[in-house]
Symmetry: D2
Subunit: 325 residues, 4 copies
């Protein structure tokens, strides 16, 4: 018996990637797709490689009033627009919000699926973490849970592919010629992803994240996100790796590696690669997390969350091997 799912914001990168994963999912059936720019067009007009079974589905203009019967709704809307859009969706429809509006909002689980699946199972409203928090918190969680680092003294230097900025066109800064061969720091000291990272660090450590520093950078690649995280703690590299292997024992999507992770390792998948380098002499721990910003950073994590709230195997539809090269 298939589970009926819909996607809002299918024209965007996150929505498109969700469609790709749903198309290959053993239990989910896409029965509804809505988008702004591409409303009225068929899926095949927007995604020329879409399977025949989905080719002629028409992209609707989003309207909660005309929603068909759905079991699960994925929302991939610009931050600031989903709160109102989703308020009118029936309680009977489970929702995974890939956008930012419901993170740490009452009644919504924060869907850090590899870290606390138990907080997500059985819920009907899940807020997907941002792409930067997904990579950062997956790398930090084992160290924070074991009190190996100080929660109040964490510096996150993160680098993302340009798909993280959303579809081009709106802004010439993301034009090919402007972005190619360019590396751009932005949002210093005030990025929108900071609060959810601080809240989660505090929940995992029981301490204050007061000193948190986060600097994102745009890197000239389409996909991929790396967080290089500088922490204080008197611990060895081996102890960090061991803590992570224990923390993620039996978990499907987190790979703990001895060598620094590369973003391409995760390309097209829901995997997260984490590693560590520590020097107790210098009271220093470097944690690293590499993901596909559209996979574990968006659509992959969203499908994993949907699996959890639907009582499906966590890996359903997410077993694809990363694309290399």
């Amino acid at each position: 018996m298939s589970i009926r799912v819909g996607i809002i914001g299918i024209s965007g990168f996150g929505g498109g990637e969700t469609m790709r994963l749903i198309a290959g999912h053993p239990s989910f059936e896409l029965v509804y797709a809505a988008g702004e720019g591409s409303a009225g067009r068929r899926l095949v007009d927007r995604f020329p490689g879409v399977p025949a079974k989905l080719a002629d589905m028409v992209i609707e203009k989003w309207d909660p009033a005309t929603l068909p019967k759905l079991d699960v709704l994925f929302a991939s809307l610009p931050t600031g627009t989903s709160a109102e859009a989703l308020a009118r969706v029936s309680k009977d429809v489970k929702i995974v919000d890939i956008g930012g509006d419901h993170r740490y909002v009452e009644g919504w689980a924060y869907g850090l699926a590899d870290v606390w699946p138990d907080r997500i199972e059985g819920r009907s409203r899940v807020a997907n973490p941002g792409c930067f928090p997904a990579a950062t918190l997956t790398a930090l969680a084992p160290l924070l849970a074991d009190r190996l680092i100080e929660p109040g003294n964490i510096v996150i230097d993160a680098k993302t592919g340009i798909s993280g900025a959303g579809r081009g066109g709106a802004d010439s800064r993301f034009g090919y010629a402007e972005s190619n061969e360019n590396l751009v720091p932005y949002g210093l000291l005030k990025h929108v992803h900071m609060p959810e990272m601080a809240r989660t660090i505090e929940q995992l450590s029981g301490g204050s994240a007061a000193g948190l520093v986060f600097t994102p950078h745009l890197v000239p690649m389409t996909r991929g996100l790396l967080a290089t995280i500088y922490c204080r703690g008197r611990v060895t590299t081996a102890e960090c790796l061991d803590a992570a292997r224990r923390f993620y024992a039996g978990r499907a999507f987190v790979r703990v590696t001895d060598t620094p992770p590369q973003t391409k390792w995760a390309s097209g998948s829901n995997l997260a690669f984490v590693s560590y380098a520590a020097d107790p002499e210098r009271d220093l721990v470097i944690a690293m997390g590499a993901v596909d910003n559209l996979g574990k950073g968006a659509a992959g994590q969203a499908v994993q969350n949907a699996n959890l709230i639907c009582g499906l195997p966590e890996t359903a539809g997410l077993e694809g091997v990363p694309v290399w090269p």
Copy 2:
């Protein structure tokens, strides 16, 4: 009951992509992997994102004498090296040679799977087409079969991503800094893929391909291959599109589009996109074929051929939707 498969040359791009597809295949089970450079290492050391079930498989040094029991063997070896390597493999083992040594060789089917599956079904030796022929011939076949163009007056201008040159390292020409922001024509008037294209054009048309011209170019992208083909014929664009839609009716992997195909449409998949633009006034037909050079151009086509010779559904393990963006 699973089918036991092996891969030779797994360290290369074609072999690695074959592994990725086998890992997600419903009937094939990878039981043997051999490679030169990476012999002795585990698959997970070479491919950090490989599934747990394959992680600890050790890459062997290729030796036909120590081959385990296999049903199908995929060979992805440099052209010139596979003829001898495969001569000593038992007749009981079906072989798909992704390399160039057995194309139009006695006893080997030429595996142009979308064009003539009937020539492949039930065979035990299949030579996979080269990446350029895969894109070119898939676009030309309908026009040649319907005698809409002259077989003796075809100009192929082809562009491939750099993974088509094989793994970097051997040659600084394929180093990142040398290749990035560079467009390189090569192999003018004498590329190794010309004979198989000429032979196939003649088989499809019944005429001579004497005047065939083929110019490959290296384009600064990892994957993707486009063939832009200039032909002579008094036919309209609509007639070409119609011929292609009839020729590929009911076929799973060829998409005939009204607009010029883009390589990214096929990325990570076994799809081929073909389109046409014709001007009867000028006796001109432009045929275009876009593929992923490692998908339809190598590993995807190889798995499709393996499905055909094993009597499996042609699409088994090949239903992944292209990765976008």
Copy 3:
């Protein structure tokens, strides 16, 4: 005594590159800059690396009525907008129009500077060739002049970097994530650059260009343009190379090479690299031309034309060595 120059459309890629070349020119002094999007901003706000002497120049809103005293005006406006804009400029001001409105227009020289400098010297109105014609015609001119190929049977397959599409932002097709790892044919059978190529081919050969075919492709790189041109003629490679070496003897910017030219060879310069491969048996000549689409394809050629009409050494301000890698 310096020559006072102005640039209209300085915010665009062509206008910006013209500014870069003027800034290093021994005789030209930039005294006026106008742009749409960036009007009111200082040059340094738009181009952070601009020399101190130009940093505080304010970009004006274009208005012919408020033009300062100028000797030369460079116009880099979208095709269709420069005809009216330039009609009201005083006859005393020499103009080089980088845009497309004045190509083969009465009273304007067609500025194919390396091919016919004598047609440009002493003129006061020059229409700069398009980027595709610049590469194509520079490669074809020697063969046409010597009647080595048929003018009526020429197929041009051209590939350009994405800066050729103008600044991003207007169109998501040119966004980084959409353009990266993608190869896109466009404008089949009806590109705006065809007429100027046909006209020039006819002037150079004395024959008809009736059968001209031109297919442009967008390649994922910022700069660089290659034209691969398929012609009919019973001539050897050596004869083509020899004709080109004679045609361009003593000319500064055209390099005739024995091996196929690569776009990166010309990056950041006004150079054009041409080469040939011919097979008399097949009545086939392949001509190749590689340029920087913003150099010889736009701003470099424009400055060369300005040098010619000002009676300066043709190479003034254009002696920079290409950037590698």
Copy 4:
């Protein structure tokens, strides 16, 4: 009267860029070029766009015994090989070593040209800083000199284009297909550039750099290097910017910007862009330095150092405006 210069290691990226700058230098004349791989070939065979005056110069096999009369020698050799190679060069020849062997070696000036030109003027042996130190120390110098940050608590997260790894070919890790769409941290806690950074930080601050942390990353672009540096200090952003503007007042190549610097701003030039973001509440200062790793990070700085030791204007041959886009 021209100054006779030679380049060792001209086949590499640093040597090639030095040649490009020398070719446009008003006082330097290239009279000698040596290289390993390309010995025996002409410059034009290696650099197709080289000016006519240099085209036929033959690249020598390096041999101090057969050195022609030189005033200045630029050495761009792999670290570990230049100490011995240069030991036998006559004291009459001024040397700028772009490689790493002579940094903080007795008798050699450390050529941080924008920070302490007075330590370089009049010397005959200069060790060029590494690319990472060039960007990092240029950004930190004003803060250290004014005691605005703690020298003992500095975390450097640096990102470089792949040309920083030297020419491809030696190592498949730098092949296009492996490097494209990939972001790679490396050399954690033990990069070869750390000692020169620590020594310089101590000289500028008078304090200990004991806690220095440095993590380099390979980014998929050819050129460009950004250092994002996390420091401790109770100071405002405005105070940092003001300190930098005072420190670099009247200096030609350092641009202090209010917004975070982007690597493309410096592309092809000897410029360094520095900026700062500070939060006294959190005792936090973020310093940023963006350069072209082959410009200020190698050849540009080398020519600037050569100008200083030859008593030429510091900007001679280095006035080129950055290439954009």
